[in-house]
Symmetry: C2
Subunit: 357 residues, 2 copies
C-alpha cells in the first residue's frame, strides 16, 4: 500500500489545527498550543505524533472524551512536589501547565516533580523535557497508558501487562538540547498495523503470537478476526529484555502509582496518559548556572568526535536527527500521505471546518 | 578454567571484611558499612560487586586511592538539591551519607536530589534506591565512571566514549521492593575478561573489534598484547542500541555534568563513580502514605499473574531473583571460587590480617 505525499507548510497546518480545535470548543490560546505541539512533532519527523493526530483528537472531542477548555487544577501542592488534575482537557494543556509549574519551582528551589490525574494524550513526550532544557534545566518525563493499551508483555510472559510506556529526558547544551524520547517496548503498535496493511513482515524479535511464540507476522499479532490484538509486543532489549521490562515498570510506577491511580481506574476510561515530569536546575547544584551547558557542550564534542564504525557515517547526539528534520521541514514543508489528508478533511467536515488539503 | 567453590557464611565474610578495612585505617563503623554492603551483594548473587571487591578495595587503600576515614562533606546545600564531597573515602561511605541526606529531605519536603564529587566505587548501585524504598520512598540512582572506563561506543561509533553507566530504581511494595539495577551497555567488561580466560566466545551483539566490526572473540576486544582493550562494547539494545546510548548519556549527564565535573578531570584519577541519587516521597504527592505501596502491590499481582510464555516458568518482578538468592545464601552460605579466596588471603596478608578462607 503506497501512498502519494502532498507537502504543506507548517503555518498552513498550524492554522488548520487551530480552527479544528476551536470548532471543538477549545479557547483560542489552547487551540494554538495543541496545534503547535502537533505541528512541531511533524516538523521533527515524528509523524505518528504529529498532525495525523488532528483526526483522533477531533473524534475524541466529539465523543466527549476530551473536554476542551476544561480547567487544569493543582489538586495538591507541596512546593517541590505536586499533583495536577488535567480535567480531561487536551493532554498538551495539562502537560504544558505541569511544565510551567516544575520549571518555576525548580528555578526557585533547584528541583520539582509533578504528576497528573485525568490527563488525555500528551503527544510527543520529548516536548516537555525539551521545554525544560530550553530554560536551562535538566528534564525527565514518563507517560504510562491505561489498561486497554497493555500490549507489552513483562519479561517471560505471554500477555500484555504494560503499554509501550515511553520515557524522555533532555539537557541543555550551548546549542540544541540533548533529547532522548524512547519507548520501553520493541515497537509501537502503530508500526505493526502499518506492516499489516502493507502486507509486510515485522523485523525479528518484536512481537509474539497469541500463544506467546515469537513471530514476524502481523496477522499472528492481530488474530484472525482483526479485532483487538491477540498477540503481544516484547519489552525493549532483545535477549536482555528484562531490562526494558524494568524500565517499562519504572514508567508505570512513576506515571501512575505515584499519582495514586489504581489499575482498576481504567474503566470507564478516566485518562489516556499518566504523565509525570521532573525538573532539576543544575545551576542550583553547583552554584554556577553556565557551567552545566559548558560541560554538556564539551561532552557533545567528545561524543560526536567518535570515529564512526564501518557502515556508519557519523556519531550524533540523541535528538540531533529530529532537529535536522525540523530545519529541513521548516524550509521545505511537511509531507502528508493522501490518506491522512482525506481523513483530516473528513473529520474537519464533521465540525464544519474546511481543511484545504 | 573451572574453579572449585568453597562456601562461607555471611557472618564469616562480613567479619573478615571489617578486619581488612580496619587494618587499612577505616573507623570500625565505616568498615562495618562497607563490608556489609559487599557481603549483601554476594548474598544477592551479584558476585561481581560482592566480597571479591575486598581485594581491589584493600589494594586501592594501599595505593592511597581510597582514603579510609576521610570526611564526607556537603559542599553545597539548597535544601532539596545538594552536592556532596565524598573525600575519596570508600564509595559506600559517601553514597550512604547521600542516602541519609535525600531520605531525610524527601521525607520532609517530598523530594530530594544529591550528587557527588570525589566518590570512589559505590559498589552495587541498586543498594541505594533499595534503601530509599525500604523507607517508603521511590529511589532512582545513576553512576558514571571516569574516562579510563570508557569502553562503550556511542551508537554508530567504533571507539568507547562512555562507561557501562548503570542506572537503578526501586519502589516499595507491601513486601520486597521492586528493584531494577541495570547497565546501559550490552555487557560489563568483566564478562569479556572471564570469557577470555575461559577460552570462550561472547554472545553475538556484545562487542566490537579494534576496527569497529562486530565480533564474538574476546581476543579481538583485548587486542594481541593483552593491554588495555582495543575494541569496544556496544550500548544496550541490539538494533535499537541508540536508545541504550541515550540512556548511557543520561547517566553521564546526571552523574557527572550536573555535579560540575569536567571530562578532563579524569587524570589524575579524582573519582571512580559519579554518583547521583533522587528520592521522591509518594505520600507527599497524594497525601496518603500507605496508598503507594498498596498500588505497587496491586501492580505486582497484575504483573506476576501474567501467563508465562513457552520456555518460561514464571513472571517475576525486577529484583525478585536477587531477593530469592539472598534468602537462599543467608541459609546456605556464599560460594567463593578458590582463586578469589587465594587472592583475598594474599591481600589480607599484606595488611597483616589472617583470612581463614
Amino acid at each position: 500500500m503506497t501512498d502519494t505525499l502532498s507537502v504543506y507548510s507548517a503555518e498552513h497546518l498550524h492554522e488548520l489545527g487551530v480552527r479544528l480545535f476551536v470548532a471543538c470548543g477549545a479557547p483560542a490560546a489552547e487551540a494554538e498550543l495543541v496545534a503547535g505541539h502537533l505541528v512541531e512533532a511533524s516538523l521533527m519527523g515524528i509523524d505518528s505524533h504529529g498532525v495525523v493526530r488532528f483526526i483522533w483528537y477531533v473524534e475524541q472531542c466529539l465523543e466527549g472524551r476530551i473536554h476542551p477548555g476544561a480547567p487544569v487544577e493543582i489538586m495538591r501542592d507541596k512546593g517541590h512536589v505536586a499533583l495536577v488534575d488535567c480535567g480531561m482537557n487536551f493532554g498538551q494543556i495539562g502537560a504544558g501547565k505541569i511544565v510551567d509549574l516544575v520549571r518555576e519551582r525548580a528555578q526557585k528551589g533547584g528541583i520539582a516533580f509533578a504528576t497528573s490525574r485525568h490527563c488525555h494524550h500528551v503527544g510527543r513526550l520529548g516536548a516537555y523535557p525539551q521545554a525544560l532544557a530550553e530554560a536551562g534545566l535538566f528534564g525527565f518525563a514518563v507517560a504510562n497508558s491505561q489498561r486497554h493499551g497493555h500490549f507489552v508483555v513483562p519479561w517471560g510472559g505471554r500477555e500484555g501487562r504494560l503499554a509501550t510506556n515511553p520515557l524522555a529526558w533532555a539537557a541543555p547544551t550551548e546549542g540544541e538540547p540533548m533529547l532522548l524520547d524512547m519507548s520501553t517496548s520493541m515497537t509501537p503498535e502503530g508500526k505493526i498495523r502499518t506492516a499489516l496493511h502493507a502486507g509486510q513482515s515485522m523485523p525479528e524479535g518484536r512481537i509474539l503470537d497469541a500463544e506467546g511464540h515469537p513471530t514476524t507476522d502481523p496477522n499472528a499479532f492481530y488474530g484472525a478476526d482483526g479485532g483487538p490484538p491477540e498477540g503481544a509486543i516484547l519489552p525493549f532489549g532483545g535477549d536482555l529484555g528484562y531490562r526494558g521490562f524494568g524500565l517499562g515498570l519504572l514508567v508505570e510506577v512513576l506515571g501512575a502509582s505515584i499519582a495514586g491511580v489504581e489499575l482498576g481506574e481504567a474503566e470507564p476510561i478516566p485518562y489516556i496518559n499518566g504523565f509525570s515530569l521532573l525538573a532539576i536546575d543544575p545551576g542550583a547544584v553547583t552554584g554556577d548556572s553556565a557551567r552545566f551547558a559548558a560541560l554538556t557542550e564539551e561532552l557533545k564534542a567528545y561524543i560526536t568526535g567518535t570515529p564512526p564504525a564501518p557502515g556508519s557515517n557519523e556519531v550524533i547526539l540523541p535528538g540531533a536527527r529530529e532537529f535536522r528534520t525540523l530545519r529541513q521541514r521548516q524550509r521545505d514543508g511537511i509531507p502528508l500521505p493522501a490518506e491522512t489528508c482525506r481523513l483530516i478533511a473528513e473529520v474537519a467536515a464533521r465540525v464544519q471546518v474546511r481543511a484545504d488539503l
